[in-house]
């Protein structure tokens, strides 16, 4: 066990080194386009890994993640907006806000903390629900956030574009947070908290019988995932520098859920794999949308085709690889996860082994 742990530590350190090297290369030598894609990868990883904690490991099927992303984005952006722009774009901002311009990290954390507090309050009620009910309720949360964003003109400029956000986001910020998110979720999953979450996911009644507080486990997962979603939101906002509430709605939600499912719920490395796979595929498809010239054959531009193809791929993935690309297991790291047996049983229950479909 000790040697396994040591060799795994080595593997992790090695991959971190490779990551840093790769980021250096991208940062110094790659085109703006590639940088953008790599940035997007990192942000998505933060979103999907933290979502996995809630959906995959705790079994709470939440559709509200992007709502917290929006909270993080807008909060941080309002805080970092230069004062001069504030008076122009957000003239009715309350005085104390109008005179503040916060540094990036502080603003990001402020947004994340706000999101976590909201998650806690909202979660007190939502985390009592299960299955489809929590899905609708969290979707409701997403809609509520959207409605508030669109209508609270004073703070958010409503449906109009919120622009002028200082471009603080760099590759290093994004991937630093991505590594941190992955680490935190990984440690959490491996801890007693994580075991409780998985117990709640697998069998709520049994977990309660064993003295596990279902509410507490779910609430913890909900808050942690909200925290990191908000971080991702802030990073996103300070990269794209202008956005509107529409960016944080259904399309984005489907996008991260696709990555989550294709990567495999309940597998952290699966989430990363899923993000990479879906992002790269989407990029390829999106480029193809503009039309492909194969010399002898020209495929005309078909805008929207990438979405169509992605949805088809999604359905195929669910049919043929319902447990995700990694089959719900972790890459390497899997050996160390103590909850592995439980997960295997959960998977078997979920897919039903030899059950013939009705």
């Amino acid at each position: 066990m000790a040697t396994a742990r040591r060799s795994n530590l080595l593997a992790v350190l090695l991959s971190l080194l490779i990551l840093v090297a790769a980021l250096l290369v991208v940062d110094l030598a790659a085109s703006a386009y590639i940088q953008r894609v790599v940035m997007g990868l990192g942000i998505s990883i933060i979103l999907v890994v933290s979502l996995n904690l809630l959906n995959g490991f705790t079994g709470v099927f939440s559709l509200g993640q992007v709502g917290f992303m929006a909270i993080g984005a807008y909060t941080a952006a309002i805080l970092t907006l230069p004062i001069s722009l504030k008076s122009v774009n957000l003239p009715e901002l309350p005085a104390w806000l109008g005179e503040v311009q916060a540094p990036f990290l502080l603003a990001t954390l402020a947004g994340a903390i706000l999101a976590t507090v909201i998650a806690f309050l909202v979660g007190l009620s939502l985390m009592r629900l299960t299955g489809p009910y929590v899905a609708v309720a969290t979707l409701g949360f997403l809609v509520i956030v959207q409605v508030i964003l669109i209508n609270w003109d004073r703070m958010t400029r409503g449906a109009r574009t919120f622009s002028g956000v200082p471009p603080y986001t760099t590759l290093w910020w994004v991937w630093g947070w991505a590594v941190l998110t992955t680490y935190v979720v990984w440690r959490l999953v491996r801890s007693a908290y994580g075991r409780r979450m998985m117990a709640v996911r697998d069998n709520e009644v049994a977990a309660q019988a064993l003295g596990v507080s279902v509410m507490r486990a779910r609430l913890l997962a909900f808050c942690v995932s909200a925290f990191f979603a908000a971080i991702a939101g802030s990073l996103w906002a300070h990269f794209f520098t202008s956005f509107s509430p529409k960016a944080f709605y259904f399309a984005e939600t489907f996008s991260i859920i696709t990555m989550l499912v294709i990567g495999g719920m309940g597998s952290i490395s699966g989430s990363i794999v899923g993000v990479v796979f879906v992002t790269l595929l989407s990029e390829i498809l999106r480029n193809a949308e503009r039309g492909i010239n194969l010399g002898f054959l020209t495929i005309p531009p078909v805008y929207g085709a990438s979405q169509i193809i992605m949805s088809v791929i999604f359905v195929l993935a669910i049919i043929f690889r319902p447990k995700g690309l990694l089959g719900g297991r972790e890459l390497d790291l899997g050996r160390l996860l103590p909850g592995r047996n439980r997960r295997a049983e959960a998977e078997s229950r979920a897919v039903g082994g030899d059950e013939r479909p009705s």
């Binding site: 409701g140 209508n151 999604f314 319902p322 009705s358």
Partner: protein, 298 residues
């Protein structure tokens, strides 16, 4: 108009919109009851029906024919959905099924955008329906009357079907205990197909009525209706047909109530309030108004 008149007027509005929600919620509830599938793509069936009807109108068909074509189109697409996307994943965890319905939604919406462009198109009102009944200071649009009448007829027919016919009882059995139904030799495929057919046809009906009411259609028109239908279903108790109907009307009344009671500064937040009320309701009755108060049996 005095208060009584306003009250009656708004009640009629509520019943009218509630009827549409109820019809949609029935479709959702039927499918959920048996398959435990939340079919988000149900909303796009409204869109499909509306565009099919519009197409027929443009091609010169009389309104009644266009309406029927619209309903037929919704039904066909709904059945195709079941066969292609949902049947292969039967038995998958609920999560997977819900996500698949998202994927189907995105698929249909983008295809529609591709074919019809995202710009909204006007949907004409047939001459017989452009009028309104006026009496005692009240004005009830013909469309509202139609919506209420259609809902009433559908509800009566469905009740007969569900309670008396062999197929209907089979459906109820399947939605109560799918395994036991299979063990009794009930043809589950046929039951599911029927549920989809009825639900999709109803979505087509709602589509036509909705399009006349709103006056225009666009590829994303199904999103809000299905969300509302979903809320209605949850309010009444997911999977229960009477619950769906009840939820539909409750939602209709809720919306009109909020519209009336909220100060004008807050009316844009109406939908947010609806969801807040929903969440509060779920706290006290996690399975909806008509759902059991027991926690789900494992």
């Amino acid at each position: 108009m005095n208060t009584i008149q306003t009250l009656i007027q708004q009640t009629i509005n509520a019943v009218s919109i509630g009827s549409l929600y109820a019809l949609m919620a029935i479709g959702l509830a039927m499918v959920f009851g048996i398959l435990r599938l939340i079919n988000f793509a149900h909303g796009d069936l409204i869109m499909v029906g509306s565009y099919a009807a519009l197409l027929s109108l443009v091609l010169g068909a009389p309104f009644w024919a266009a309406g029927l074509i619209g309903i037929a189109a919704s039904t066909i697409v709904g059945l195709a959905m079941e066969r292609v996307a949902y049947r292969p994943i039967r038995g998958a965890p609920e999560v997977a099924m819900l996500l698949t319905s998202f994927a189907v939604t995105i698929f249909l919406e983008n295809i529609a955008i591709l074919i019809f462009s995202p710009t909204p198109r006007a949907f004409p009102t047939p001459p017989i329906l452009s009028g309104a009944l006026e009496f005692g200071g009240l004005r009830i649009s013909a469309v509202d009357v139609l919506a209420i009448l259609v809902a009433a007829v559908v509800l009566v027919l469905l009740t007969f079907f569900i309670r008396r016919s062999e197929a209907g009882v089979g459906m109820r059995a399947a939605s109560q205990d799918l395994l036991a139904a299979r063990l009794m030799g009930i043809n589950i495929n046929r039951v599911i197909v029927m549920a989809f057919a009825i639900g999709s046809a109803l979505a087509g009906v709602v589509g036509i009525l909705w399009s006349i009411r709103v006056g225009k259609i666009d590829p994303l028109m199904g999103f809000y209706p299905v969300l509302k239908a979903f809320v209605a279903s949850v309010i009444g108790g997911l999977g229960s047909l009477p619950g769906a109907v009840l939820g539909g009307y409750v939602l209709g009344f809720l919306e009109i109530l909020l519209q009336g009671l909220l100060p004008s500064s807050l009316t844009p937040y109406r939908d947010a309030f609806v969801f807040i009320i929903l969440i509060v309701l779920l706290l006290f009755r996690p399975n909806g108004i008509l759902g059991s108060t027991e926690k789900e049996k494992i």
